[in-house]
């Protein structure tokens, strides 16, 4: 079984699926989405089987496949996963089927066809698997850039009213970062050629090289800028609210759930092991960005009137936590950061999905256009609340474990940054509860209001502007009611697995931690930290 090329299959299956979906004749839209669901479930199955085949205590990279690709430059099509990459593959495996079901009833605008949507989605899945599975820096770069293309079309063709602007912005930001990284990748090749006599892109070989500190800093910055844009860290973040707001819900989930994680994954996989000295020297500056992100984005999230932008800003705040955990250089914090990457994908993914369900009902993205939904749609409100609580890292939800690990692991080495970031948990409570109260609590109001029976005026269910007049016209005697249906079976099928994962990983996270920790410990020894974790400052008398 170990010789089965799991990763190659996981890349190939969705790619072939994408081609098949694209080749379907016009009018077979429902077959296209069924095919998409089937393929994504198959990838999930493969991811689970690959996890079973993976030995947590074994070698660093497992399930490896390597084919010589461009021998002149020492480029191999080399795939392999450590625990960190493996959990990301699991996350992809879970999120894509959920996104497919969530987008089941999406309709394409204009001349576009939903077949293209499903095809791009599957192609995106293939690229995402590739970017996490690559163990060759050049191959990683190729997937890193190739990933942009399907996402560009998902945003640009199937997004909201300002989709063109958002898609171009997303593409340009990512491209700038990618080009800077390309320069650093080539620089790395040249350095390896000087050191080893023969240039290589293989991660394991590059990890062994001692690079001159000055050169290290430059190369580190090249990679860092690309990943900081992707992640995104303040001040490279402004593309995310636009993309997150304009992307179709499914695209937005994968964007913040997986795509952005490539940035933080890159910090752990490439920045730290390849440039340990530069990482240590520049970590204080990165931490400033991380903590600034936690506080700044949280405050901004509070000030947003557009729900999708709000969720995007909360993600930026969460990425600040992840970056803090990574650049604290302790096993506990970095394990927490990796766990955070998974948990954030689930929690914020669900938040995006449930916001999308609300928007699908009211047709408006504005917080102010909703009110009192909880009274009429308790399931919707309940799922919203669970997603929100996971986002504010309430104990019992998965995010708590990761946020707690990040903070407790960072405190011993970076106390000031940790204390400041801890203040962020109050802000997180504020931005979640504010939007929850405004949309779900209080008296019924907004675009979902039932048209008052007496008024002969045309339907008031339209835009946000008509809502105010509807409220005014409503007779004071009859209490306003909302016309909103609760979650449908399909929407429950979307929410249920996510809620189950939020609770399950919140109560019993240890299996995932056991999977992640060996890879994190290896990274810590690369960067010169103690892989066994923090050692207490005061002597402990007797153990517990």
């Amino acid at each position: 079984m170990t010789t089965f090329p799991w990763l190659l299959t996981m890349i190939a299956v969705p790619a072939v699926g994408a081609a098949a979906v694209a080749a379907l004749p016009r009018g077979r839209e429902s077959l296209a989405r069924q095919l998409a669901l089937g393929v994504s479930l198959l990838v999930l199955l493969l991811a689970v089987l690959a996890t079973i085949a993976f030995d947590a205590g074994g070698e660093r990279f497992q399930l490896t496949t390597s084919v010589s690709w461009i021998p002149d430059f020492g480029v191999d099509f080399a795939l392999g996963v450590d625990g960190i990459a493996l959990v990301m593959l699991l996350l992809i495996g879970v999120l894509v089927p959920v996104v497919v079901v969530a987008s089941w009833r999406e309709e394409a605008t204009g001349r576009r066809s939903m077949r293209a949507f499903w095809a791009w989605l599957l192609l995106l899945e293939s690229m995402m698997v590739g970017v996490f599975a690559a163990t060759d820096v050049f191959l990683f770069y190729v997937f890193f850039e190739a990933m942009l293309v399907p996402m560009y079309f998902l945003i640009g063709s199937f997004g909201g009213p300002r989709r063109q602007y958002a898609a171009v912005k997303f593409f340009l930001y990512s491209l700038v970062g990618g080009l800077v990284m390309l320069a650093a990748v080539i620089g790395l090749y040249v350095v390896s050629a000087n050191e080893l006599g023969e240039g290589t892109f293989a991660f394991d070989a590059l990890r062994q090289i001692e690079i001159d500190p000055g050169v290290q800093k430059l190369l580190f910055l090249g990679f860092f800028v690309a990943f900081a844009i992707k992640a995104p860290l303040v001040p490279f973040h402004t593309w995310l609210p636009d993309s997150g707001a304009e992307a179709p819900i499914g695209g937005a989930v994968l964007l913040v759930g997986v795509l952005d994680k490539v940035g933080t994954f890159g910090f752990i996989r490439y920045c730290l092991p390849l440039f340990p000295d530069a990482s240590r020297d520049l970590a204080p500056y990165v931490l400033v960005l991380a903590v600034a992100g936690v506080l700044y984005a949280a405050l901004l999230a509070m000030g947003q009137s557009d729900m999708k932008r709000l969720v995007s800003y909360t993600s930026i705040a969460h990425f600040g936590f992840i970056a803090l955990g990574i650049f604290a250089f302790t096993t506990e914090a970095t394990t927490g950061a990796v766990l955070y990457m998974v948990n954030h994908g689930i929690a914020t993914g669900l938040l995006f999905l449930v916001v999308g369900m609300l928007i699908a009902r009211g047709g408006s993205r504005l917080v102010g256009d909703y009110g009192g939904v909880a009274a009429q749609a308790p399931l919707l409100a309940g799922v919203f609340l669970i997603a929100g609580l996971a986002s504010l890292a309430l104990p019992g939800t998965n995010s708590f474990v990761s946020e707690f690990l990040v903070l407790i692991g960072s405190f011993p080495t970076r106390p000031v940054a940790t204390v400041l970031a801890t203040v962020g948990i109050v802000l997180a409570a504020l931005y979640v509860l504010l939007v929850y109260q405004r949309t779900m609590h209080g008296p019924a109001r907004g675009v979902l209001l039932e048209p008052a029976p007496e008024t002969t005026a045309p339907a008031t269910g339209g835009g946000g502007a008509t809502a105010a007049t509807a409220t005014l016209e409503a007779p004071a005697a009859a209490p306003a009611r909302l016309r909103v249906r609760d979650l449908s079976r399909r929407e429950l099928a979307v929410a249920a697995p996510m809620v189950a994962l939020i609770i399950a990983l919140g109560v019993y996270p240890q299996p995932l931690i056991a999977l992640i920790e060996p890879a994190v410990a290896a990274t810590m020894s690369d960067v010169g930290a103690d892989p066994a974790g923090v050692s207490p400052e005061a002597p402990v008398e007797g153990t517990d």
């Binding site: 340009l172 303040v234 001040p235 973040h237 402004t238 700044y296 405050l299 901004l300 509070m302 000030g303 302790t330 096993t331 506990e332 394990t335 927490g336 009192g372 909880a374 308790p378 309940g382 309430l394 104990p395 019992g396 474990v401 707690f404 690990l405 903070l407 405190f411 011993p412 106390p415 204390v419 801890t422 203040v423 948990i425 109050v426 409570a429 504020l430 509860l433 109260q437 609590h441 209080g442 008296p443 019924a444 019993y508 996270p509 240890q510 931690i513 992640i516 994190v520 892989p531 066994a532 974790g533 923090v534 050692s535 207490p536 005061a538 402990v540 008398e541 007797g542 153990t543 517990d544």
Partner: protein, 631 residues
């Protein structure tokens, strides 16, 4: 005190948490199918937990039992085991939570009978009981923290139970946020413990706390105190508790009077080994307790909302408990005893208030009550007993436990001791004043009812718990202090009690407190009982009354110090982000676009001008080459 592994029934003590949790899960997931019997299931799980807790306590017998469950998180040097610690201290709390909890569940069956969402109410109550039990049973600080925020969530859900009312939704949010501020303190304390000691279990931390530097211990103590203040509504985080009365009254009784808000006292008592090492932090606990008990008592005197009076009374009484545990070993038992008796009489008072509201069409305005004593006899008698217990009427509960605290304060023996004791006695007088005012306005005098209100006694399912709690209010003090001393039960936790050297004779203190209490009652009668109560609050009142009505401007301070600057900052940052950060990027794009269009104008379309520029370019290149090779 050695910890022994679990055996017998105690090994199954995880069921204490699992039972109500399962109840909550069934009720929430079961949907409308469980509407018919949901309240019975919800009550049943808590009653079962109470029985189990009682049996476990009987088996315990002064031991300290550790129940290992599973590995929660283990990475690097951090190892958090999910485990329970069943010792005399947690047993006391388990019995309080499940006992009072079960009574309040029963009461809620009647109180919420007409609410279409009764099933969900019981689910949230069960969730609360589970989280609260985890809080007191956890054997490490992470479990404590999980329970700590879990009760915060349950409190949020229950305050916002009638979430159509904007005031309820806002109060719930406010409670959660202010609790979270405290939680930051608790979290930082845990981080500091891990950084210094490498462990977060009670045994590990308490065993090694003596090796820490004094400043570190003080920091841990103060951070824990911040957490305790948030949860217990203590100064400076007290403003959420009165607002939390927006929730249904059984919630106020269970969460915001008897159990959750006393979690801060539990935390400080549990962390006695830490506070024993740091007199500074302990002094701050004392100060917080003293300040809060005065704030609560003063604000309680000027409220017209019956639940708000009781809420400020709770703030004030928890201030007493903080004062007690801040006194150190002499005060722990006194504080916990007051916590238990307070649990009985305050829950009883809230249930009584709920019964009154039930009768008065959900009104809480005492100015529209009056003369209810004859209409609601059971409520009047049970409420009256709770009232007497609270103000410290001789030989009822409050008399024993409050006097013990005041004695302990005097026993410090220094000037501070006299000051604290004096403050506590003064607050006892104020307590008597505002509670008598409440009694007079509600049950005596001429009826001032709203038109159309016909008060009637509540059904038995509601009055039975009130009677039981009233019995508890009468007897608990005697039982806990004299008959079966809590002090000896808790000896395994806090050590042998030292024979205190009384600075002021206990008898003198008792007499003094009783006299001050009588003065308070008399004043209230002079101000309220003798006169007609106006149905609207007088506008022209002294500045002191105005300040007391606004709870000494706590909300105003919070709003002007935090809320408004925060809102301003948020708006400013949104502007900066859109115009500044994003504007810089878009500006760069616009600059590039503009310059490229300007450069584009040089593309005239005339081939010959292109040819000229090519020639020019070729000449420049050739010249450069010549210059390089020649030079």
């Amino acid at each position: 005190m050695e910890t022994v592994p679990a055996d017998g029934l105690i090994a199954a003590s995880w069921l204490l948490i699992a039972l109500p949790l399962a109840g909550a899960a069934v009720l929430l997931l079961g949907g409308r199918r469980t509407d018919r019997w949901g309240h019975l299931l919800g009550t049943g799980t808590v009653v079962a937990a109470f029985v189990l807790g009682l049996l476990c306590t009987l088996q315990l017998g002064g031991r300290r039992v550790d129940v290992d469950l599973f590995t929660f998180v283990s990475t690097g040097s951090l190892d958090v085991q999910a485990g329970l610690l069943f010792d005399p201290l947690s047993a006391v709390f388990v019995l309080l939570i499940t006992g009072v909890g079960a009574l309040i569940h029963v009461y809620s069956i009647g109180y919420m009978a007409h609410d279409p969402r009764r099933r969900r109410f019981f689910a949230y109550l069960n969730l609360f009981v589970a989280a609260m039990l985890l809080l007191v049973l956890g054997d490490n600080f992470v479990a404590l923290y999980v329970g700590w925020e879990g009760v915060g969530l349950a409190s949020y859900l229950l305050i916002a139970f009638w979430h159509e009312r904007p005031s309820a939704a806002t109060a719930a949010k406010k409670a959660f946020i202010m609790n979270r501020v405290g939680d930051v303190g608790l979290a930082l304390a845990i981080f500091l413990m891990f950084a210094q000691l490498g462990t977060v279990s009670y045994d590990g931390v308490f065993g090694a706390v003596g090796t820490l530097a004094g400043g570190t211990v003080t920091a841990i103590g103060l951070l824990l105190l911040l957490g305790a203040c948030g949860k217990s509504g203590q100064f400076p985080l007290q403003a959420w508790l009165p607002d939390a009365m927006e929730g249904p009254t059984p919630v106020s009784a269970l969460i915001h009077a008897a159990t959750m808000v006393t979690a801060g006292v539990y935390l400080i008592a549990r962390c006695a080994p830490i506070y024993d090492e740091t007199p500074t932090a302990r002094a701050v606990v004392l100060a917080v307790g003293a300040i809060t008990l005065m704030i609560g008592a003063i604000a309680g005197c000027a409220q017209d909302d019956i639940k708000k009076v009781l809420a400020y009374s709770t703030v004030s009484q928890i201030g007493y408990m903080f004062l007690a545990v801040g006194l150190g070993p002499v005060g722990y038992v006194a504080g916990l005893a007051h916590l238990l008796t307070h649990g009985f009489f305050k829950a009883g008072l809230f249930l009584g208030a709920g019964s009154v509201m039930h009768a008065m069409g959900d009104s809480v305005d005492m100015r529209r009550f009056g003369g209810l004593a004859s209409r609601m006899k059971v409520t009047f008698v049970t409420f009256g007993l709770g009232y007497l217990a609270l103000i410290g009427f001789p030989f009822l509960s409050g008399f024993y436990t409050k006097d013990a605290i005041i004695e302990a304060a005097f026993d410090r023996g220094d000037g501070w001791g006299y000051l604290l004791g004096g403050v506590a006695i003064l607050a006892a007088g104020l307590t008597a004043f505002y509670m008598t005012r409440l009694m007079l306005m509600t049950f005596f005098g001429r009826p001032r009812w709203e038109p159309g209100v016909h008060p009637h006694e509540s059904p038995t399912v509601m009055t039975a718990p009130m009677v039981l709690l009233a019995v508890g209010s009468v007897l608990a003090g005697f039982l806990l202090v004299v008959a079966f001393p809590l002090e000896s039960w808790l000896t395994p936790v806090f050590g042998e009690p030292e024979e205190a050297e009384h600075v002021v004779a206990p008898l003198v203190v008792s007499v003094l407190v009783t006299v001050v209490m009588a003065l308070g009652v008399l004043t209230a009668w002079l101000f309220v009982g003798r006169r007609e109560v106006p149905v609207t609050a007088p506008v022209r009142v002294s500045p002191v009354t105005r300040a007391a009505r606004r709870a000494l401007y706590a909300d105003a301070v919070n709003e002007s110090l935090f809320m408004r600057p925060g809102q301003w900052l948020t708006r400013a940052l949104v502007f900066v982000d859109n115009r500044g950060v994003d504007g810089a990027v878009n500006g760069l794009a616009a600059t590039l676009g503009g310059s490229s269009s300007r450069l584009g104008r040089t593309q005239t379309g005339f081939v010959r001008s292109y040819a000229l520029s090519m020639l020019g370019g070729a000449v420049v290149v050739a010249g450069a080459l010549l210059a390089v090779t020649a030079g």
